[in-house]
Amino acid sequence: MAHFSESELLERFHLYIASIEDQLWKRENSGDIIDDIPLITIISRPEVLEFINTNKIHQQLTGYSPEEVRENSEAYTGNIVHSDSLKNVKKFLPEFYARQGSHKTMAFVQYAKLLGEQEYSPLITFTKPPKSPNSSVIRLSVTPGEMGKMSGKMERIVKMDQFRLKHFKRFQHLTSREIEIMKLLAYGHTNPRIAEQLFISRQTVETHRKNIKSKLELGSFRDLMRFALAFDLIEL
């Protein structure tokens, strides 16, 4: 796979998507179109696991031919994609495909076991909702290391995402009030300030703080910040 800068990657993504979409309207067989694309390319129904086609790079990196992917989609995804990641994708992708306007592009991280590797590799995947309810969707993936100038950033994002996956269950134990207080703590606000802002007593803030600490097993301010960053609670 080739190396791209951040803007190149986005531009290429749009270019590839546009060319694939164009060709898909004209002919049935998308194989020869997507084989020229130097990124892992998957064309599916908006239902996500109903695959239509995959390209040569996809086969090189996963070992699965387009036929195998199509005919055995459950086994293929089960073997390739990390189960947490798959759950996640099954949940938000159909929502995204159904809800958003066709001009929106989304990037997300998923974890896949590539051919000959023991560990799961993070893949940054770009996708866009279908042009019309009946048309297919295209997903293009790259590994963070192949993103050129953007690699460093993407590797950090992947680390945050891995943290988020790892601690997702723990985070779900927080109440919405606790999340609210956690945000303020992550911004560096003190207890008295938080009490004032939320019109509650300092004692109540302290109780919330203790509960957050024990639920998330926080040992330092840094731990709190890691949650705040990984779960997108604050803007720095």
């Binding site: 531009e11 990037a107 560096g188 301010f221 803007e235």
Partner: protein, 96 residues
Amino acid sequence: MKKQYPTGPVTHKIRQLNRLDIFKQKRMAIFETLSDRETEVLQLIAQGKNNPKISQELLISRATVQNHRAMIRQKLDIKNEQGFMKYALAFNLIDF
């Protein structure tokens, strides 16, 4: 072609890191006034280590750690705990 930013699960994080890049550019000159030792202390603070731990690790007294901390605060104009983290993130002293 119109340049678009992807929206979705990692978009917030991409923007976050882009904001940190801008912060880094703006604060580069101030950050460079830190001594090597102060940078080291900042990194340890951002790693969540408290003063006793830092004094152990760097083999310096707690009072010296306290002084470094105060000096970093003053030089970087840090108002609260988050300030240390923000600098450490922007200047790649910690991953996140």
